[in-house]
């Protein structure tokens, strides 16, 4: 199950809407081993594409080092689909490389209706999980 604050949930949706019709992507870092998303980090989609995303390699290095220095890990890896459902595509599954992360997918295909779903992707297998949106704590 993904437990996420209402504020972070809203930030992901806002980023997805802002970048539409391109796919938006980013991570939420949290303290290592605690499964608690806390620090919102929107990333540049280096592909600037409506059908593909890839973190910019230099930005990724900087962000991953920063997480390392702060003893954090990528708790959530999110991206949007702009014309299809919020479900991992074959491409998403093929490139998923953080087996410990919650993969959040948002669909912006409907202008006034948000799809927000969360998955585990490990060894080519996709498992959807429940999402619990909680009141914003002091950490946020």
């Amino acid at each position: 199950m993904l437990t996420i604050s209402g504020a972070l949930h809203a930030k992901i949706l806002a980023h997805a809407r802002a970048d539409h019709p391109d796919e938006a992507c980013g991570v939420i870092a949290g303290p290592a081993g605690q499964d608690r998303p806390e620090r919102f980090i929107p990333m540049v989609n280096a592909e600037r594409s409506p059908t593909f995303y890839r973190f910019d390699s230099m930005e990724q290095l900087r962000v991953w080092r920063e997480m390392d220095d702060r003893d954090e890990e990528p708790v959530v890896v999110y991206h949007s689909h702009t014309a299809t459902e919020a479900y991992p595509s074959r491409t998403d599954i093929a490139y998923a490389s953080e087996p410990g992360a919650h993969y959040v997918l948002v669909s912006t295909r409907e202008p006034d209706e948000a799809e927000f779903r969360s998955f585990r992707i490990a060894d080519g297998a996709v498992t959807e999980e429940e999402i619990r949106v909680v009141a914003d704590g002091p950490a946020e």
């Binding site: 230099m58 491409t91 490139y95 998923a96 953080e98 410990g100």
Partner: protein, 92 residues
């Protein structure tokens, strides 16, 4: 002195769980050959017949090695090589 290679979580099965390993060589290709001799299987996750795999990022110190000549990038003692799987996907 040696060259440090930082390994991402998903590839630590090849390093006995170690976050980093050491090796030596004059180029990135040499270094990966050297590391492969102690951590079998790692090289194939980073390199294919065409060179560095497209969805693996390899950095030499603070630079993406793709901008430094890829596998032929020169390396030296004291350098740090960082491996990060690309975060990518999408509807396509």
């Amino acid at each position: 002195m040696a060259i440090e290679i930082r390994i991402p979580t998903i590839l630590r099965t090849y390093t006995g769980g170690a976050k980093s390993v050491e090796g030596s060589g004059a180029t990135l290709a040499d270094l990966l050959d050297d590391v492969e001799s102690r951590h079998g299987g790692l090289q194939a996750r980073l390199v294919d017949d065409a060179g560095l795999r497209r969805f693996v990022n390899v950095y030499l110190n603070d630079e993406d090695v793709r901008f430094l000549g890829g596998l032929s990038a020169p390396v030296k003692d004291g350098d740090t090589v960082t491996v990060l799987p690309a975060v990518a996907g999408g509807m396509r």
